[in-house]
Assembly symmetry: C2
DNA sequence: CGGTATCAAGATACCGATAACATTTTAGTG
DNA sequence: CACTAAAATGTTATCGGTATCTTGATACCG
């Protein structure tokens, strides 16, 4: 920058101002300097600026992404959220520093202006860990009375309730829930499901399954059958589970949706092309990501931000 | 750091050394300072260090991730690559700066020590654009004589050839290729496919389809049928297309694999649970990501790095 | 013409770390 | 005990920008 200043016959600070479009420089001078900078391929040193401004214009996004061939990596889930986040942050001139739980101790995270945590972790442990960094932080997941963070998430209770009402409307009365309620989000779905069914005095059966895969879904239904448990509706907390459940149900010679209604969750694109086309609860991840981003940005600017709960919608197809 | 120095009764530089585990300080002093730092919750200012060292220990990863509900965002593809990249970089003390094509002009990218570009872009345009940043760069995609970059990718020609040989072994002689060969990687698959079939004097039919979806695959097969084109084998350049093709084929009353053999590409986890279980070409993305990371790191260290072509394997299931 | 806004540009200090060189302390040696 | 090598610590300068405060020039006023 000093060189550029000499070239332009002005001082460093004037160059700085010119490049920053400051109104403190003569428009002509500014133009001249900007042209000169472009010609010489001058690039501002971001690290220096970050140091001086005590701002990195960077937000760290912490994903629970195990390096192994793990389910979460294959899910649309984090990527679509990331898409929304990225879009908003980029628009605001911020960058996304992507980190896994393990890597979050790496240096660069500390330099971030804010934190977005995707997934609270099994027992809020993730949340507590990153709290220590003392950075503006927002979390994607389920609201919880116990923590005072800004949380953005879908209305999982509503999701469960909507499915329950759907089953009630269809006259089903022996519903099954497949999933792992130790994830806060899943728990909420189950809870909403139970509450809404209780209105009609119906109690669903919980098939706890830790894996969110097709195989796991098939296994759940087979195990129901083996135990000779009757059921006429299945709410799977994920589309893959739902697909597996449908497959196993059909294998057992029962019809979907005539004998058994099935609803999944997430409305993955593949669901619409499944045979039969899958009914599912859709949450707007794109919007969620954007909201997360806007909230951190607000916090970074020192403005207040509140938790938010996004609506979900039931997409009824053929199951 | 100055405060900490005063607290410890030493100079700033000694603190710096102690925290950096430099052998230049007395082990006792080092220990004392580190304890003090921890107690007082002292955090190194990364921006200052970056400035001084002219190193950010950050690698920018540029993904072609459109903000819209686009296919790439739902694919396992970028995330698994990212997983591998992230794992290696983290292990080496580096961080991942995730950027989209659009956002890559954002400040922070310039501060990165290196660049990983996922996808060359339709006509190498992405490559050329980021070349200007003059950073160590490696690209995921297809080798090409025309560019002098370090490229890591799967052996797409081999992928095509393997499928061709599989079809030949099955005695098929009217194969169809579904996909969009204007992507360099897809082109290679097609090319390898054609070459290997040519040995037996077989010429495949190309069904060009731009979308990589189930619907698109169904559409391709229906269109073949409408045009009364005979075929007994389908090589889809993506598993979703393959699933669609199978579905449409079955709909038309033909059997898979008795009448028509189908092979997909990518071996997505869902493929194994598809009905019938999908045969597919598997590429090792995890490994690819790790390789990409290692190569940028090498370039950053000033060491040479060469392009690399990863093997692929045909997973034969029931189609 | 002195006095005061207004605008443009410069001087200086500083952000918080580390490299290079300088200095002091300690230990070892004949 | 003088002398030297090695170890431990300190001094200074610097990375490359920007905020703050000043200064100089120009314009406008009665």
């Amino acid at each position: 920058m000093a060189d550029l200043a000499q070239l332009a016959g002005v001082s460093k600070i004037t160059v700085s101002r010119a490049l920053g479009d400051s109104p403190l420089v003569n428009p002509e001078t500014r133009e001249r300097i900007q042209v000169l900078a472009r010609e010489h391929g001058y690039k501002l040193n971001i690290s220096a600026r970050n140091l001086r401004l005590r701002r990195s214009h960077t937000v760290a996004v912490i994903v629970e992404m195990k390096p192994s061939t793990d389910r979460t990596m294959f899910d649309p889930y984090p990527l679509v959220l990331l898409g929304g986040i990225s879009q908003e942050l980029t628009a605001a001139g911020y960058s996304v520093l992507l980190t896994t739980r393990q890597g979050a101790s790496a240096a660069a995270v500390q330099a971030a202006d804010g934190l977005i945590l995707l997934g609270q972790g099994a027992h809020q442990d993730a949340v507590r860990r990153f709290d220590k960094l003392c950075l503006p932080m927002v979390v994607w997941g389920a609201q919880s009375a116990s923590d005072a963070h800004v949380v953005v998430g879908s209305d999982n209770r509503l999701g469960g309730a909507v499915v329950a009402r759907h089953f009630i409307a269809l006259g089903r009365h022996r519903p099954v829930f497949i999933g792992n309620p130790s994830h806060p989000e899943i728990f909420e779905r189950l809870d909403g499901f139970i509450d809404a069914l209780a209105v009609r005095g119906i109690k669903p059966l919980l098939m706890r399954r830790d894996e969110f895969t097709v195989d796991s879904g098939m296994d759940a239904v087979r195990s129901l059958h083996a135990r000779k448990v009757g059921f006429d509706a299945i709410f799977a907390c994920n589309d893959l589970l739902a697909m597996g459940a449908i497959r196993a149900t059909l294998d057992l010679g029962r019809s979907v949706p005539a004998d058994v209604s099935v609803v999944g969750y997430d409305d993955m694109p593949l669901g619409a092309s499944f045979l039969p086309p899958l009914s599912s609860v859709r949450q707007d991840w794109q919007e969620g990501g954007m909201l997360l981003a806007r909230k951190v940005l607000a916090l970074i600017e020192g403005e207040p931000a509140s938790s938010e709960c996004l609506p979900v919608s039931l997409i009824v197809r053929s199951t």
